[in-house]
Amino acid sequence: MSDKIVYLDNNSTTKAAPEVVDVMKQYFLCDYGNSESTHAFGSNLQYVEQGARESLARLINGRPKNIYFTSGATESNNWVLRGVMKHSDKRHLVISAVEHPSVLNVAQYLEKEGYRVTYLPVTDQGVVRLEDLMTAATDETALVSVMYANNETGAIMPIREIGEYLRDKSIIFHTDATQAVGKIHVDVKRDNIDLLSFSGHKFHGPKGVGGLYFPLKKYVSGKLVRMQIAQFMIGGEQQGFMRAGTMNTPGIAGLGKAADLAYEHLSEHLVAGEDTGVSSKRDDLQEFIEENIPKTMINAKNAPRLPNTLNLTFPGAEGESIIDRLSEKGICVSSGSACTSKSLAIPYVLDAMGINHDIINSTIRFSLSRYNTTEELKYVRQVLPKVIEDLRLISGFKE
């Protein structure tokens, strides 16, 4: 392993911002009370949590009181899917075929319990189509859950259109915005999102803390109706009986700080809805690869895409081998290749996009963060072409 680490796997997790860790220290070492306590030492911490709610609400343009803290998006997604279906009279839910496993596998679990699930297909650019959703969502549908942006390809789904379509209907609209929050401008009001999941560690917050945006009520046919969601974590009285478990005050404070930093960064760099601070670096890398590594395919190239994600197929070079050789040089990327998964199954996201099986295992994902420097990406340019060339020589790939 090289001494130098160039971390380009930020859709997997990010480094916590130093400011975030600074804030958290205080609530581990000094103000370590339990915010549910009666004494002031503990109960004063409620204001810290309230502050974090406000920061997050600002980031997604929602109301602070609607933010519930969880252990992360996996918990939030489980809570929504299982909680909504349990309480609803309707037995049908709609998700996309490219959801994260924390939605996909829960849906499959519900299917075994006897619920009906429709999996929306995606285009060759990796996005769902509103028309498909309009056909799939019926009077029998309790919940529609479509991710804001895909973790593998970075493709952004037509969330605003779906929200507009489901507005005022008795179908609950949930989006797993784990990859979007902090990276692009997410707005629950503009997009008519009912429920939204997010994770702190995807935008330089701490691991193990995230949340669910959950306004309790939505308009159905012009009237405010309660959205019924069963409790998921059962236990104490925290967060208005909605989510039990001692408040993770240090984590929540860190999450709030991360939200502030993301908001500041986005306000500074947002040009026409795009985080140019990150996308310019991504675009440079993309351009370089297109020019210098022949036969490269850029997946979801024509879809609206997260500014930090670059998903590439290098025919003739197998994904896991690319990762190993880049990792030897200190560059961290990820791949959906069959060889990287425990089950050796082919990558379902790319499969849903109709990518040819002959090259599907040659796919690599670069995901940048605002901490990546131009020098780091220059280093990638030096290393990558040779890695691909070598592996193509071994495999006998002909251009």
């Binding site: 299917e111 896991e320 081998s321 290749s337 069959a338 020589l393 006998g396």
Partner: protein, 376 residues
């Protein structure tokens, strides 16, 4: 996604391949554009070519790009001295695939002699390989100073070394005079393959019976070791059977795509296991059926019950003017509604329910209970 915990040797060999580049020179020796083109397209299964007055180039390949693994092996053999002069390969695969191929190439070159080294020709004309997947795996192991294994190739990656062995086998076919091109396989070729390799078992990954049979001994050894280590209880025949299934899937990829070949092909992987190791057959067909039923999803369970109702129960009831509807399945309780002449029949509770329960127990799952519900 995950990181594999590979032995050091494997990573080293994969990152610094020694034998891959030689193919460029070997292909030049061919001076045959047709054959070169076929090799590049991945159509050559086994072929040979005299490349010099006293040298022969053998070519054998295996795998497919869609499974993420494909390789072509080249071997240059001196006809007079019977020595392997060069080994090279094409490999589209992961770290462990490239590493295993490098190790295989090294083992072949260490043997020096082609016949009598890489393989033995027995009196009856059959061939025994000296470089096998087991040997590759054992050479890749990481051992400490006392010779104790500290890290082996992950079990899920054993198919990479199996692939090398298969490509080597195809080289020996060429040696025996057989030329096979994927795009030009004749009926005779298919018959030859079936005769050599046994019937086709896994249609998705092209795995024949003999490939599976050859692996069983090694799996049995693993199992014995695990039993000695207390990981398996003696007498857990069902568990043994499952273990064989899983290992065959990991080593060959057979049954990974559509899954049919585990039980539903003729012969199926299960047939092959039971034929060779009858002691690892779950005690009875019923036990197998129970194990199988328990792994089904809810929908599949319901479908199976419905099928028996449709085929065996409903025709009988219809003769009497009655019918049965499947209302639901809660754990092992099948809820049914009886209608038509059955509805008010005094015997319906005992006779019909009992009869249906018996039929479902014999045909689907022995723990099923049937409960009559009245919806109106």
């Amino acid at each position: 996604m995950m990181a594999w915990d590979y032995p050091k040797k494997l990573i080293e060999m994969s990152r610094n391949p020694q034998y891959s580049e030689d193919k460029v020179g070997l292909l030049k020796l061919l001076e045959d554009n047709e054959l070169q083109k076929k090799i590049e397209q991945g159509f050559v299964i086994s072929a040979k070519k005299d490349v010099d007055e006293d040298k022969t180039l053998f070519i054998g390949s295996y795998g497919s790009r869609a499974c993420g693994d494909y390789m072509t092996l080249f071997m240059l053999v001196n006809d007079d001295s019977n020595e392997v002069e060069k080994v090279s390969y094409y490999n589209y695969g992961c770290t462990s695939s490239i590493g295993a191929t490098e190790m295989g190439a090294e083992l072949v070159l260490n043997e020096k002699k082609f016949k009598g080294g890489v393989f033995e020709e027995k009196a009856d004309g059959s061939i025994e390989l000296k470089v096998t997947n087991q040997k590759i795996l054992s050479m890749l192991k990481e051992v400490d100073e006392q010779g104790k294994t500290i890290k082996s190739v992950p079990k899920e990656k054993h198919h990479c070394s199996v692939m090398f062995e298969q490509a080597l086998k195809n080289i020996l076919r060429a040696y025996q005079g057989k030329t096979l091109f994927k795009d030009e396989l004749t009926k005779e070729d298919w018959e030859f393959i079936e005769q050599e390799e046994g019937p086709l078992v896994c249609h998705c990954y092209d795995i024949h019976e003999k490939t599976i049979t050859n692996l069983l001994g090694g799996i049995d050894e693993e199992l014995q070791g695990m039993m000695a280590g207390g990981e398996f209880e003696k007498g857990d025949t069902g568990g043994f059977n499952d273990y064989f299934h899983r290992r065959i899937r990991e080593m060959t990829k057979a049954g990974e795509a559509c899954g049919k070949c585990h039980y539903d092909r003729n012969p199926s992987i299960d047939d092959i296991i039971v034929k060779n190791y009858p002691q690892y057959n779950p005690k009875s067909k019923e036990e197998k059926k129970v194990r199988e039923y328990e792994t089904l999803s809810f929908i599949e369970k319901v479908n199976r019950i419905n099928k028996v109702l449709e085929e065996q129960i409903r025709p009988k009831l219809a003769l009497e003017g009655g019918y049965v509807s499947l209302i639901g399945l809660e754990e092992d309780t099948v809820k049914i509604e009886l209608g038509g002449s059955c509805k008010d029949c005094a015997f319906s509770d005992r006779t019909i329910t009992f009869g249906i329960e018996e039929t479902l127990r014999t045909n689907v799952y022995e723990k099923l209970k049937v409960e009559k519900v009245d919806l109106f």
